[in-house]
Amino acid sequence: MAEKKAVLTGVHFMSGDVACAEGALAAGCRFFAGYPITPATEIAEHIAARMPKVGGIYIQMEDEIASIAAVIGASYAGLKAMTATSGPGFSLMQENIGLAAMTEAPCVIVDVMRGGPSTGQPTLPGQQDVMQAKWGSHGDYEIIALAPSSAQEMFDLTVEAFNLAETYRVPTLVMADEVVAHMWERVVIPPAEEIKIVNRKKPNTPPEKYLPFMPDDDLIPPMACFGEGYRFHATGLTHDEHGYPRTQVSEAQTKLVQRLCDKIRKNVDKIVRVEEAMLEDAEVVVVAYGIVARAALSAVRKAREQGIKAGLLRLITLWPFPEKHVAKAAERAKAIIVPEMNCGQMVQEVERAAKTTPTYHVSKLGEEPHTPMEILEAIRRYC
C-alpha cells in the first residue's frame, strides 16, 4: 500500500510528465537527482515542488552522469530513487546504468524520447532509444523497460517500474516519448490503499553471516543498506557473493553475469505485459508501443469497419521482449506491421519472433507520430 500523504487520489487533468512524477511519489520514490532537458524537464520541476512536502529529496546535479550516480548512491542508502532525462542525457547515463545492473541497485530511469541522434529534435517525439535501452551499456546484462502510451500510463507504469526495480534489483526504464510526456489528459489516481507497492527484500541473517551478493532461489540477493550495521562492500568489478573483486577468476564472471541475465530471463512470464485488441482472428497484426499504439488502435478499428481482419498487439513491456506474444500473434497472421518513430528498431525483434510471417516496418521521423490513416494505408497494402 502506498503512503497516503504522497498520493493525490482523485481525477485530474495533467500532463504525462506530471503524471510520471506523481506516479514516482505514489510508488514511494523519495530521492530524485536530475539535470534539465527537453522534453523531460517538467518531471524534475514537478518533483522539485512536491518532494519536500512528502519528506523526500530533490537535487539538480551538474550533469546526467552525476544524476544517475547519485541515484545509485541513494538507492544503496535505502531510498527509492529516480532520474528522468531524454536521449542526450540517456547516452551519458549508460555507463552507470551498467553499474546499477552490476551492483543490483534498484532504481528507475525515465527517458522521454525525442528525435536523435545527437541533439536532434528536442521538441519532437521519437522512439529512437529503444535499442539503446537494451544494449546501451557495455557488457552483458538485462534491464526492464516499459513503454507508456498515455498520461494515465505515465502514472501507472512509473509505479510499476519501481515495483519491478525493487523486486528484481534491476534498473528499470520508462521509455516515454515527447507526445505522451507533454500531452494533457485525464489521469485517475487511485486511493493509496489500492496502489500495490513492492519493497526490496531485506536480509534476515545477522551482519556477520550476511553475504550481500548471495542470491536466494529466485536468483535475487536480499539487500542490506548503508548504515544498517551490515558493513558490506559493493563494486562494479566482477565480484563474488561477498561483494569482493574476483577479476581473475573465470567462474566468478560466468556465475555473476549469467545470474544477472537469468534473474530477468527466467521471470519473463511474470514481467512481460502486453495489450491485445481484436487479435483472435487477425490476419494483419500491428505491433506498436508508446503513442504510436494509439494511432494503431484507431487504424485497426477502421480496417475492421472495412472488413479487414486486423488486430493490435501493444507492447507495454519492451524489455524483456514479449517474444511469446508476438510469436503467437504471428502464427495466424499473414502480415505483421510495425509502425515506429525510428528507422527500424523493435521491428528487428518482432521479425525474429514472427519467424516466417512477413513483417513490414512503417517508419516516421521528424514530425508528429503516425496518423491512423498512415497505419491504415499500410494495413490495406499488406492485408
Binding site: 523519495r30 530521492f31 537527482a33 519536500p52 512536502k53 519528506g55 529529496i57 537535487i59 546535479m61 551538474e62 550533469d63 552522469i65 552525476a66 544524476s67 550516480a69 547519485a70 541515484v71 545509485i72 548512491g73 541513494a74 538507492s75 544503496y76 542508502a77 535505502g78 531510498l79 530513487a81 555507463e95 552507470n96 551498467g98 553499474l99 551492483t103 548503508f226 548504515g227 550495521g229 551490515y230 558493513r231 558490506f232 562492500h233 559493493a234 563494486t235 562494479g236 568489478l237 561477498h242 569482493y244 573483486p245
Partner: protein, 278 residues
C-alpha cells in the same frame, strides 16, 4: 604456547581482501594507516561510516576498510557519495580516491560538490600519474615530467589541487605528503569531525610507475624529495602553494564553517512540512 595475537587494527580491515594490490614503496598504505589511526583515536562508530572510492590504485581502499563501502565507476565517487549523504545525512561519507579519478574524469563532480557544500569528505592520493594503467600523464603531472604518454616531457600545466578546492568553496583544505604522517592523521581527524565539504590532498610516492621514470627509483628516494622540498605554510595563500622539484608547500589552507547543503535542505523541508500542517 603463545596465543596468536590479533593486530589491534585488524577490526578496521577486511582480512579476506588481503594481500593488497599496492607496489612496494607506494604511499597508499600510509594513507590507509593514517585513516585507520584517525578512526581509532576518535573511537569512530564504524556503523556510521561509508567509504566510497573510484577507479585507480587507491580506489581499492573502499574494499579494504571494514565498513559499508562502494567502489564506483571511474570518476564518479563524489556523485555517488552525494546520493548517500543526502539520503542518510547522519552517516559520515568519505571519498578516498586518486588525482586522475577526482580531477580529470571526475573534476566536474568535485567542484560542484564543493560549491554546494555537500557534507562529504574527500581524501585524494596525488601520485602525479595514472599508476594502475601503467603511468600515463594526469591532471597533476608536473611540467617536463616523463610518463608513458609524455615520453618527451609533459607540456600540460598541472592543477594546484588545494587552490582548486579553496576556490570551489571547500570549508577545509589541507595538503600533506606521506612523510607527514602525524599531521595527516590530525588532519583526517579534523576532517571526520567537520560538517562541510572537506578536502585533504596527500602527495604520495609512486616509485614503481612514476618515480623510476623521473630519477626517483625507490620509495625512499621519493620520500627524500618530500623531506627536502616540503615547507609547512599553514593558512598561506593556496594559490601560491606550489609543488615543484624544489618546493612542496604543505599545511592547512582553509578552515571555515558555512551551512551545508543537507542542513539547508532539511531545514527547508521542515519549514515546508510545518506550513503544510498549518
Amino acid at each position: 604456547m603463545m596465543e596468536a595475537l590479533e593486530h589491534p587494527f585488524a577490526k578496521y580491515l577486511r582480512a579476506a581482501m588481503m594481500p593488497h594490490i599496492w607496489c612496494s614503496g607506494c604511499g597508499n598504505g600510509i594513507i590507509l594507516n593514517a585513516f585507520v589511526h584517525a578512526l581509532d583515536e576518535l573511537r569512530f562508530d564504524l556503523d556510521k561510516l561509508v567509504v566510497v572510492s573510484g577507479i585507480g590504485c587507491i580506489g581499492r581502499t573502499a574494499g579494504y576498510i571494514n565498513v559499508d563501502s562502494f567502489h564506483t565507476t571511474h570518476g564518479r565517487p563524489i556523485a555517488f557519495a552525494t546520493g548517500v549523504k543526502l539520503a542518510k545525512p547522519d552517516l559520515e561519507v568519505v571519498v578516498i580516491s586518486g588525482d586522475g579519478d577526482l580531477f580529470a574524469i571526475g573534476g566536474n563532480h568535485f567542484i560542484h560538490a564543493a560549491r554546494r557544500n555537500i557534507g562529504i569528505k574527500v581524501i585524494c592520493a596525488n601520485n602525479f600519474n595514472y599508476g594502475m594503467t601503467g603511468g600515463q600523464v594526469g591532471p597533476t603531472t608536473p611540467l617536463e615530467a616523463l610518463t608513458t604518454t609524455t615520453p618527451y616531457g609533459n607540456i600540460e600545466h598541472p592543477f594546484n589541487l588545494v587552490h582548486l578546492a579553496a576556490a570551489s568553496g571547500a570549508t577545509y583544505v589541507a595538503r600533506w605528503t606521506t612523510l607527514h604522517v602525524r599531521m595527516l592523521t590530525i588532519s583526517i581527524k579534523k576532517l571526520l569531525q567537520r560538517k562541510g565539504f572537506s578536502f585533504i590532498e596527500v602527495v604520495s610516492p609512486c616509485p614503481e610507475i612514476y618515480g623510476r621514470r623521473n630519477k626517483m627509483r625507490t620509495g625512499l628516494e621519493m620520500m627524500e624529495w618530500f623531506r627536502k622540498a616540503s615547507v609547512i605554510a599553514n593558512f598561506s595563500d593556496p594559490s601560491k602553494a606550489e609543488i615543484t622539484p624544489e618546493r612542496i608547500v604543505v599545511g592547512e589552507f582553509v578552515d571555515v564553517e558555512k551551512p551545508t547543503y543537507e542542513q539547508l535542505l532539511y531545514s527547508k523541508m521542515a519549514q515546508i512540512a510545518k506550513e503544510e500542517t498549518e
